[in-house]
């Protein structure tokens, strides 16, 4: 391994090292503040460590890892999200008894897994990254394990996620059986060579991998776990699952299927279209009259992944690749900060009650008058989820539409419209609940410092990039489109 290659994986090495250091520190002196501080510093340092990497890209580090603009962009998103979750989790855990330190370690593990995932170029690293992410998340979900709900959520996630991992593994095995290759880039030639002989194994393998990935992305019909896990998990963890986990997995899926050209197989596109339509419809329908905000967000994430699939499909259409990758990258960015904002609010509202998170919509009634700033932040995030202008979510949806229009995916786009229409209903329901005038004396909500900062920056980002998306657009154009 050359120096350059070592330098290229400096962020990962750095993060790993800090995890180990953190473990030592926890072993000797348990102090939540210190742990969190180490975490935050680690995340920032890791982010900074990508700066020297930028001059090297694109670079392969063993067949397993590739560092390119795409990886850097998504790593950046992941690190941003992890930092935000760390801060939110600090607020969440600081008043919930001792021995919360390991959580932050697990968070770093999960982040590491996600970082590996987005820069993997090989099934081995992909699966390991996926598992590193997954195994850490199982524990994170069940971390407070006082109540049964977190345990149940974790257990369901663990079992189903395990099953879905086996789908991916088996699919990878089938593909391996066809061409004897496990690197993504090599698969492209395999796909070409075996167009006649081994295509059934190849497509079957792709189907299995898709099924596995769709589970992790919570796309219908693999979405069943999502609401339960979202509801059961502590709010910051849910934020993590919704952003980092899904984002990283989507990124790797996009890389896998575009660099192997598997996405251009027509039947795969058909399958994806069906799944995308189902997701958009089912996700939105499920949320329609739901009364639990966390579940609403879960269903809405199902629908959002459906929208994202539209861009994914567009990537497989003729002439749609560049715009589709750009679109999904922006959409994910929008989705990241918006989701962080939403769960940030849920976290803050949940703080007074250490028994269970503030799920029910009644917790939010009158928030506009009790905590105007918080309510406005939540409103903005919800509007962003709904894709209303002024918010970053609008630009995201605009990109999806653009990608779809460019590749003339009219059916999918009309479903996007129907889905968005239904979506507005339940987002507005929450907003409406917040505007209700409540007479009853409700628990006082304090905005914590760390979470407050997270929320402030998230809100600012939602607004700023909703009005002026050009910086991110340029960033994506410079970094992400290198893989095409």
């Amino acid at each position: 391994m050359s120096d350059q290659q070592l330098l290229a994986i400096l962020p990962h090495i750095l993060l790993t090292t800090v995890i180990l250091i953190q473990m030592m520190v926890i072993a000797f002196a348990r102090n939540l503040r210190t742990t969190v501080a180490i975490s935050v510093i680690a995340l920032i340092l890791t982010g900074l460590a990508f700066i020297p990497v930028y001059s090297l890209i694109p670079i392969m580090v063993t067949p397993l890892i590739v560092l390119d603009g795409y990886a850097i962009y998504y790593s950046g998103l992941i690190l941003m999200s992890s930092t935000a979750v760390t801060l939110m989790a600090y607020d969440y855990f600081k008043d919930r008894g001792e021995k919360q330190d390991e959580f932050f370690m697990l968070l770093l593990f999960a982040t590491l897994g996600a970082l590996i995932l987005v820069c993997s170029s090989h099934f081995a690293s992909m699966i390991l990254g996926l598992e590193l992410l997954g195994v850490s998340i199982y524990t994170m979900i069940s971390y407070p394990h006082k109540g049964l709900l977190t345990l149940e959520a974790a257990l369901k996630y663990l079992i189903l996620s395990g099953v879905s991992s086996t789908f991916i593994l088996f699919g990878a095995a089938l593909i391996y059986a066809v061409g004897g290759k496990l690197g993504f880039a090599e698969l492209a030639s395999v796909a070409l060579e075996t167009r006649d002989s081994g295509e059934i194994f190849l497509t079957a393998g792709s189907a299995l991998i898709f099924a596995g990935i769709m589970f992790k992305l919570s796309v219908t019909p693999f979405h069943m776990w999502t609401p339960d896990v979202y509801e059961g998990a502590p709010a910051p963890v849910t934020a993590f699952v919704a952003t980092v986990s899904k984002g990283a997995i989507f990124a790797i899926t996009l890389r896998l299927f575009t660099s192997s050209n598997l996405i251009e197989v027509p039947s795969i596109l058909t399958g994806l279209s069906v799944v995308a339509i189902l997701s958009m419809l089912v996700g939105n329908l499920l949320a329609l009259r739901q009364d639990n905000v966390k579940r609403i967000l879960a269903y809405s994430s199902i629908a959002h992944l459906g929208y994202l699939m539209v861009a994914f499909i567009a990537a497989g259409m003729i002439g749609g690749k560049v715009l589709a990758i750009e679109a999904s990258s922006y959409f994910l960015f929008a989705y990241f900060i918006t989701t962080l904002g939403a769960f940030g609010v849920v976290t803050i509202v949940s703080l007074p009650n250490t028994e269970a998170d503030a799920g029910d919509i009644s917790n939010y009634e009158g928030l506009f008058w009790r905590r105007p700033m918080l309510a406005i932040m939540f409103t903005l995030t919800l509007l962003s989820l709904a894709g209303i202008p002024l918010t970053v979510g609008f630009i995201g949806k605009f990109y999806i539409f653009t990608a779809g229009v460019t590749t003339t995916l009219w059916l999918l786009l009309s479903v996007v419209i129907i889905g968005s229409g239904i979506g507005i209903f339940y987002y507005l329901r929450i907003i409406f609940a917040m505007t209700k005038r409540t007479e009853t004396d409700v628990t006082k909500i304090e905005i914590p410092i760390a979470g407050g900062w997270v929320m402030a920056s998230v809100t600012a980002a939602i607004l700023f990039f909703g009005i002026y998306p050009t910086p991110i657009v340029n960033l994506i154009n410079n970094l992400v489109l290198s893989i095409t």
């Binding site: 391994m1 063993t62 397993l64 697990l106 593990f109 690293s125 390991l128 990254g129 590193l132 524990t139």
Partner: protein
């Protein structure tokens, strides 16, 4: 049909049957034992298709280590007198017939494989050395990541198990 092929089908049958039995048992311990048998059968298949190192790992780690975890848990849970009573009722000598039979078949296979009849396979065997070279060559990062994965699992298990043990002690 060559001997290897026959052995393969035999092991496959054992593996299938024992897996089915494993997953249909009422008693977790019995299920575990069937599962271990299944894993051993797999190990034989690995050996037959030229992956001796994987076969060893299958026996040592999968059957030997991971399954033992299950055993520990079953012991910790100590599902109690209720389970024992149930077991007494239906755990008749006949119940052992199938596991015993399967074990026998496996055993015979092992004998056959070990008695050197597998020389034909030598040409396609991927030796531990090759595996090792590749593992610490291109796949070195995978090893590192796997180590982190195990560490994460360890920390998770530590966290989850800690409360349980502490609380159980308090209760007892």
């Amino acid at each position: 049909m060559s001997v290897e092929l026959f052995l393969f089908y035999l092991a496959a049958t054992v593996s299938l049957v024992s897996t089915i039995l494993a997953l249909t048992r009422y008693n977790a311990t019995h299920a575990l034992i069937y599962l271990i048998i299944s894993l051993l059968a797999s190990a034989i298949i690995f050996y037959l298709v030229g992956a001796p190192f994987a076969a060893v790992l299958e026996v040592v780690i999968y059957a030997g280590a991971i399954m033992v975890l299950f055993v520990f848990v079953v012991m910790i849970l100590n599902l109690g007198a209720r389970g024992d009573d149930l077991e007494h009722q239906w755990l008749k000598p006949g119940m052992w017939l199938f596991p015993g039979l399967l074990c026998l078949i496996l055993f015979l296979e092992m004998i056959y494989v070990l008695s050197g009849s597998s020389q034909n396979l030598a040409g396609t065997v991927v030796t531990p050395k090759e595996v090792g070279i590749k593992l610490y060559g291109p796949y070195v990062l995978a090893v590192e990541i796997a180590s982190m994965l195990l560490l994460a699992g360890l920390i998770g298990a530590y966290h989850l198990g800690r409360r349980y043990l502490v609380d159980s002690r308090k209760e007892s």
